[in-house]
Symmetry: C2
Subunit: 176 residues, 2 copies
């Protein structure tokens, strides 16, 4: 197995499946001996962005910090995987511009489906107006206009989504 350094950036609404899919890709890459790091948005907030909230400015700062770390890893041959809502298109594109091999995965799921699943009970509260800055309800989400990969957890199995990832990485000659 050979790979280049690249960044795999999962963006999408809370509960859409970013963490599930990114963890699966991460575990498989680990298993075959790839140099790979998984930066999960929530987890990284405690390391890099303690004190930041959910205003646009703070979200952008968080995304830029993640991007900075991905840039350092990727250009040294490491695969950096990020799973973070990262709701603003322009901010994601600023990160993209700094990273040679940037692969954006839009993890889509219709908001009605998310509200029905509501794994963490957050959508119900957000729809009741109890959570300020909740992406997709009380805060904007700007989908990517031309992501390298789109998956939809309301239409596909996890295996199907995963297969799209491997296919694209091979097509881009980042992984073989």
């Amino acid at each position: 197995m050979k790979h280049k350094g690249f960044t795999l950036w999962f963006t999408g609404l809370s509960g859409a499946g970013k963490s599930t899919l990114s963890e699966r890709v991460f575990e498989k890459l680990k298993l075959v001996g790839a140099k790979v790091e998984l930066l999960d948005g929530d987890e990284v907030r405690t390391h890099l962005s303690k004190g930041l909230g959910f205003s646009k400015e703070d979200r952008d700062a968080n995304v830029h910090r993640l991007g900075f770390v991905c840039q350092l890893l990727s250009r040294n041959g490491v695969i950096a995987i990020v799973a973070a809502i990262s709701p603003y298109r322009e901010t994601r594109d600023e990160v993209r511009a700094k990273i040679e091999n940037f692969v954006e995965i839009y993890v889509h799921c219709p908001i009605e489906v998310l509200a029905e699943r509501d794994v963490k009970g957050l959508y119900k509260r957000a729809l009741a107006g109890e959570i300020a800055h909740f992406t997709g309800i009380s805060d904007p989400y700007e989908p990517p206009t031309s992501p390298e990969i789109i998956v939809d957890s309301s239409l596909e199995t996890l295996e199907q989504s995963e297969a799209r990832v491997w296919a694209k990485l091979k097509e881009l000659e980042l992984y073989s």
Copy 2:
């Protein structure tokens, strides 16, 4: 040239020579094709720690973030070089505990010499009581108790300090 992933952490007072020596080591490593990143405290503050000040809490947060990035790089075979005042011993030791190959360089220079050099004019102002939280004058600096390397820019040439670095890296079998 072969190397392991490791972290080379330069600590010491402002003006003691951390940046000069770390840049030199970085450039040489780059030149021979090493995978290496230089994280300069001042520069990284804009990427990772915008908004943080110079209270103990904020300084510690900055050092922990630098440490987190070094950890990610080092464990993937990259050499991470940090030049940062990082005044608190316990905080540096917390970072050390997380990184397999951690090499601490204490860049020493007596404060009288620094005040006399005063390249940026900061010591004069700090001694006049005009700068709060100025390390070594209005803020503490806790020297390492057992750093891997000690250099003293008031007693040695840059070349002599540099030679100590290469010698130690070879002794530790991190670089050959």
